[in-house]
Structures are given as C-alpha cells and as structure tokens.
C-alpha cells in the first residue's frame, strides 16, 4: 500500500487567521476576466440605450447639483469655472467609489447560489466588480474630458500637465477604499442582513459629507469641517479636481490619510472575508 504524504489539498476546520491564499487569485485570472466581461455585457442586454446609461446618470446628477448647490444655495466652486465641470468631476470619481462599495458589499448574498455549488477563490467576484466598474469610470471620464474640451473652446482652457499622472493613483485609492469597506460589509451581511439595508442609504448620505457639491475651502471656518476631514474620500476628491483644473488645493496630508485608511480597510477586509468565506454557506 503506497501512500505518499504530499497531498495537494488538506481540508481542515479552520486555518489560521492569516490563511488568505492571495496567490490563488492569480491562477483564476481568466475567471476574473470572464466575470468582468459578463458584468459589463449582461448589464445592458435588452435595454434600448445600453451603455449610454453610463452617461445619462452623471449628466442628470450634474444638472441637479448645478441647480441646487450652484444656483439655489449659490455655493462657490473654488474658482473652478464653469461650475458644471466642478460638479461633473466630483460626481465621476464619486460614482466609481459608490459602485465599488455597493456592488462588492453584496458579494456573498448575491452569489450564494454559485458559491454554494463550486469552489473558486471568493475574492474573484469583488475584484472583478472593481474592474468592471473601472470600465464605467473610463466612460464617464471620457465624458468629463469631452466636456472640458468643449468648454476650452468657450474660453476655459485645459491645464494638461505631468500631474495628470496622479489620476491613476487617485483611482487606485478610491478602488482600494471601496473594495476594503465592501468586503467587510459583505462579510457581515452573511449573518446579519441588516447591513444590506444600511449600506443602501449610507452610501447616499456619505456623498453629502464628501466635497462633491461644495469645495473644502467653503468649510474653512466651519465647525463641521472636522467631519469632512475624517472622510477618507475628501482629500481624494479635492486632489482629483486640483490635478484636473489646477485650482483648489492639493491635499497631500489628506491623501496620506486616505492611503492609511485604505490599507487598514483592505487588511481588515481581507482577514474578515477570508474567515467568512470558509463557512458562510451555513449562515447565508
């Protein structure tokens, strides 16, 4: 009876806390790509406007913001003119965050059918969501560019420069924070569905404590400034605008804060997620 000891896989009750297997993800990169493709193509099947919806949503939101924050409340825009670009830029980056967070926070519940039938690294799904949302961000960013170019003919020139290279870094920060918080919440929803309900409006409310409809400078002397400072997205949004328009301020301290926040969210998220993924089928 020959029995070699080198098993490929040992199934045990519970591995250690740091039993995460990120390398497994690389082996499943084809699956990630296929999920991205599925998310993107399946979303707009049987719609008339298809991916055009990606453009309609930010345009409408910008119009509302322009009306409420710009005209009715008459809040300044940090010297960024026309105001449309101020709002559109904020909404573009915010939408990416909101998409990453809300869609990844559903991971376990929405995919329980498929998770229950076959094993693959569970992180494949949230990661593919972050990437497929990136495509949407790309489309909306093109819209923003188009708007900037259009306004450049109206006497508002574009400030291209080396600092545009910072944009991917900012996007990475947003993705990291969205993913980190998303997988934490998705892990909690397996047992307590309350979080699903919570996240739906928390994301909405969060937008109001992020400088989307107003600049940070508007709050310079306000006692509420602290709340906005605590929001890890504030620095990113402000810096995003600074990079694009050369006005407002580049908040490097805020960015370091965001980076720290992202690292912790991702680390905690990975730990909780990998603990939950082993047994969530019993509670979901």
């Amino acid at each position: 009876m020959k029995e070699s000891a080198d098993w490929d896989l040992i199934i045990k009750p519970r591995g250690s806390l740091f039993d995460i297997h990120l390398s497994d993800l690389w082996n499943y990169r084809d699956l990630i790509i296929l999920f991205i493709k599925r998310d993107f193509t399946a979303q707009y099947k049987q719609t008339v406007l298809g991916p055009l919806w990606h453009l309609i949503q930010p345009i409408m939101t910008t119009a509302i913001f322009l009306l409420i924050f710009g005209k009715i409340a008459n809040i300044p825009t940090d010297g960024i003119y026309p105001k449309v670009l101020f709002y559109l830029s904020g909404i573009t980056i915010w939408n990416y965050f909101a998409a990453c967070l809300t869609n990844t926070s559903n991971t376990f519940v929405q995919n329980s059918a498929i998770y229950g039938k076959v094993y693959f690294p569970r992180l494949v799904i949230p990661i593919s969501i972050v990437f497929s949302s990136l495509i949407r961000l790309g489309i909306q960013f093109l819209l923003l560019l188009a708007a900037m170019i259009w306004f450049s003919f109206k006497g508002f020139p574009i400030h291209f420069g080396w600092n545009w290279l910072l944009i991917p870094m900012l996007v990475l920060l947003v993705a990291g924070i969205g993913l980190g918080l998303g997988i934490i919440i998705s892990s909690l929803t397996t047992k307590y569905r309350d979080f699903t309900i919570l996240i739906a409006f928390v994301v909405q409310l969060l937008m109001y404590v992020t400088p989307i409809g107003y600049p940070m400078s508007f709050l310079a002397n306000s006692r509420y400034r602290k709340i906005i400072d605590l929001n890890p997205l504030s620095g990113i949004v402000e810096s995003f605008r600074y990079v694009l328009f050369g006005k407002g301020h580049f908040d490097s301290n805020g960015l370091w804060y965001s980076f720290g926040f992202m690292s912790i969210a991702l680390l905690v998220g990975l730990l909780i997620f990998s603990k939950v993924e082993r047994s969530f089928m019993d509670t979901v």
Binding site: S4, W7, R38, A42, I114, K117, V118
Partner: protein, 427 residues
C-alpha cells in the same frame, strides 16, 4: 494497488437549526467570551444525531459525524442514503464550498465538483460565452476551454444555437450544454451529485458512458451521489451507505444497495403520542394513528387483495382555521407514491377531536414496504399544523394463491391496479 487520492479522517460537520437571529448574536457573543478565556466552544458539546424524523432536544445537529474512508485512484465511489443522511454535506466539504467542524480530508489532484450543472450560467449570454464562463468557474483556463470548445458543442448538440442567449434554449439543450462543459473538465477527481436526475434517457446514458470513460480509460476518480440505484449499480465499483451523518456500511455496490433497500425502517402500525410529544402547533395536534382493515379493526399488514385503510385521530384546539387532514405515502426507496387529502367542503374547522380515515382499495399498492406521513394543513393562508413524516410504516403482502395469472414471480411497479383488459380475436 493504485494510490489513495482522497483520505477522509473523522470528518464532522455541525449545523445550527432554526433561524439566524438575535439568538445567534447572543450565542456568538457567548462563544467569543469562551474563546477569550481560552475555553472550548460551549456549543460543540451539544448536538445530536441528525435524525430529521425525530424532534431534537438541541438546536445543534451533526450533519456528519466521524466519517472516515479512503478512495483510490481510478475508483468510482457511490454514496447512498436517505435524504438528510449527510451525503451532500460530505460532497460540499470535499468540494470546499463549506468547511468541516472537525476532522480532515486530504486530497491529491485537482478536484472539480458538479453539484449542479450550469453553475454560473448567465441567461443573457450566448452559449459560447457561457461555455467559457462556466468552464472557468469549474476551474479550466481559457486555453483549455478553447481546445475543447468544438468537442463540447458537439457533445451537447447545440451548434446551431451557439450564439443565441441561453435563455432561449429548451431545458434539454441547456442541460446538455451544461453537462457538456462539465464532462470535458479534466480534473483528477470528479465529484458528482444527482445531476443525472435531469435530461432524457438517451442523454443520461451518454453521461454515464462519459463518466465511465473518465474513470476507466483516464484513471480519474469519481465520487457519485444519486438516488438512481440503476445508475449506481452500473457505474460504481464500491459504495458507501450513510445514515444520520454516519457511515453504516461500505463495500461492493450490489451488496450495499441491497442492504440499503432492505434496511428500511421498523414496521409500526399503531401509534399513540403522549402528551408533550404530540406533533402539532397551537391549532391542531396529532394524537393517534393506526393501520386498519375493512371493518376498522387493527391490522398488522395490508393484504393486497383486500380493502384496508389508515386511520388517525387529531385534535383541533382553535376555531377559525380549517385544518385539512392529508396523507403522504412513500415507498421504501423514498419515492413519493401519492398524496391524498380529505375533500373540501367537509366541516373541519370547529374545535374538537376528529378521526380521519383514508381507505385503500384492494388491488392497488404493490407488495412492499410503505411509509405514511400524516399531516393536517390549512390551505388559505397556507400553514402546516403538523406533519409526522414516518407516522406509519407497513408492508403490503400478497397471497400468491389468489393471483389470477400463472406467473408467480415478482411483478415490479409501485402500484398494481386491476385495470380492465379487452383482448379478442379479430379474424
């Protein structure tokens, strides 16, 4: 002897019954408190055998308890047992969709599990896209799928529809495509659960053939759960028989299947439930049940050639509901033979004690063992007041001297009604 590729050692799995709610939060906190103090999880001491027919004392049950076995390379191992015996839990642990509570399973080689065909199929995507997606979910790389693509399409016979969204497929095409992907996986170990329950007979044959090829010619190992004893018999070299989360027997397939079929439950033709154990809710509860003959006397068996019946007594405790007595009859293989209920319009809603009788005509149930589940349910809004799954267990026997044919062998079939025949010479 080929090497051992799956080694399962003392594998156990505990489930908590009931809903996840504030109660579970309290348990979680309690558990955490024990953990903080470095003590053992208090709830692991609880738990009992998973016999779903008995009402348990504890909220925790062992779906799997101390299961150990080895599988050698190239084996086709069958797993049989009644529903709830732990078969699926075992497969789920081996395919890593859930984790065991204790024990280990060691596996050598790549595992692909087919707990369902078409996992991850997206109705809006074309057959082509779904082949790639499903293949990748099952662990194939895009290159592997590309190589097998034509073979899969050919196996499924859907060439014409390959660029049509699968939501337009007939259910047969859907299943064939899904199984096609699965059958062309090249894992060292294939875990299959009941997928043959779907598809037409010809396709089932094709699948069985494919699975045999997989293990026979290519040296792969297959773990196979099914209620289809014929498929089991023709496919598996050895079989495990499970009951209540434990292995009862393991060995040569035919022997094990026979043991399984004849093990059946103990006969019980007269039941009286004591106060406190009566099945039921606050509206209705079951008091007594018995097997009777035509005259209403106690019966031990049902005579195939005579009328018989099942009688049960229940109490309605509350007005305002309309509990309809009904009866679910299963044969020994666990197939549902029939469900029958009192007809509507019978006044059943007022408080009091009721006696229901379901009469079985002669020449109806074939000989063999039957299990009767007894229930009362209000239909609108739907609510089951009690359901006792194995209320009565009895045999139907036939007196061969009364048979009206020369043939004295076994006449298969679940029922054997006496239909009218007219055969005349016409020339």
């Amino acid at each position: 002897m080929p090497p051992v590729v799956i080694k399962v050692e003392n594998l156990s799995k505990q489930y908590r019954l009931g809903e996840v709610s504030t109660g579970s939060l309290a348990h979680d906190i309690n558990r955490l408190w024990y953990k903080v103090r470095g003590k053992e999880d208090p709830y692991l001491k609880l738990g009992e055998e998973n016999d779903r027919t008995k009402k348990g004392e504890s909220d925790y049950v062992w779906a799997l308890r101390d299961v150990s076995f080895d599988v050698r390379q190239g084996d086709i191992l069958g797993i049989i047992g009644r529903n709830g015996a732990g078969k699926s839990t075992l497969l789920k642990i081996l395919s890593r969709t859930t984790t065991p509570t204790s024990g280990t399973a060691k596996i050598k080689g790549r595992v692909a599990s087919l707990l369902e065909v078409g996992t991850g199929f997206h109705p809006e995507l074309s057959g082509r896209d779904n082949i790639f997606l499903n293949g990748a979910i099952l662990g194939m790389s895009r290159n592997e799928i590309r190589k097998k693509f034509d073979e899969i399409v050919d196996f499924a016979g859907v060439e014409r529809y390959i660029d049509t969204p699968v939501k337009r497929y007939s259910s047969g095409m859907y299943v064939r495509l899904a199984f096609g992907v699965a059958a062309h996986l090249e894992p060292e170990i294939l875990i299959v659960d009941e997928v043959l329950a779907v598809g037409d007979a010809e396709f089932q044959k094709k699948c069985l053939g494919k699975m045999k090829d997989v293990s026979g010619n290519e040296g792969r190992t297959v773990l196979f759960v099914s209620h289809n004893m014929t498929a089991m018999n023709s496919l598996c070299d050895s079989t495990i028989y499970m009951r209540n989360g434990q292995i009862v027997a393991m060995g040569e397939t035919t022997e094990i299947i026979n043991a399984y079929l004849s093990s059946g439950s103990e006969i019980s033709t007269r039941r009286i439930w004591q106060n406190g154990t009566m099945p039921g809710d606050e509206v209705a509860r079951l008091l007594k049940a018995r097997l009777i003959d035509k005259e209403g006397n106690d019966a031990d068996v049902v005579d195939f050639y005579k009328e018989s019946g099942m009688e049960f007594t229940y109490e309605v405790l509350k007005d305002g509901y309309n509990p309809i007595p009904n009866l679910h009859l299963y044969n020994q293989k666990g197939d549902l033979v029939l469900i029958s209920s009192e007809s509507i319009g019978t006044p059943l809603s007022s408080k009091g004690i009721y006696r229901a009788i379901m009469r079985i005509p002669p020449h109806f149930l074939n000989d063999g063992r039957y299990i009767a589940g007894i229930a009362a349910s209000t239909l609108i809004p739907e609510r089951v007041h009690f359901y006792e799954p194995e209320a009565l267990i009895f045999d139907v026997i036939e007196d061969m001297n009364l048979r009206d044919t020369e043939y004295r062998g076994v006449i298969p079939g679940t029922v054997r009604p006496k239909f009218q025949w007219e055969t005349r010479k016409t020339n």
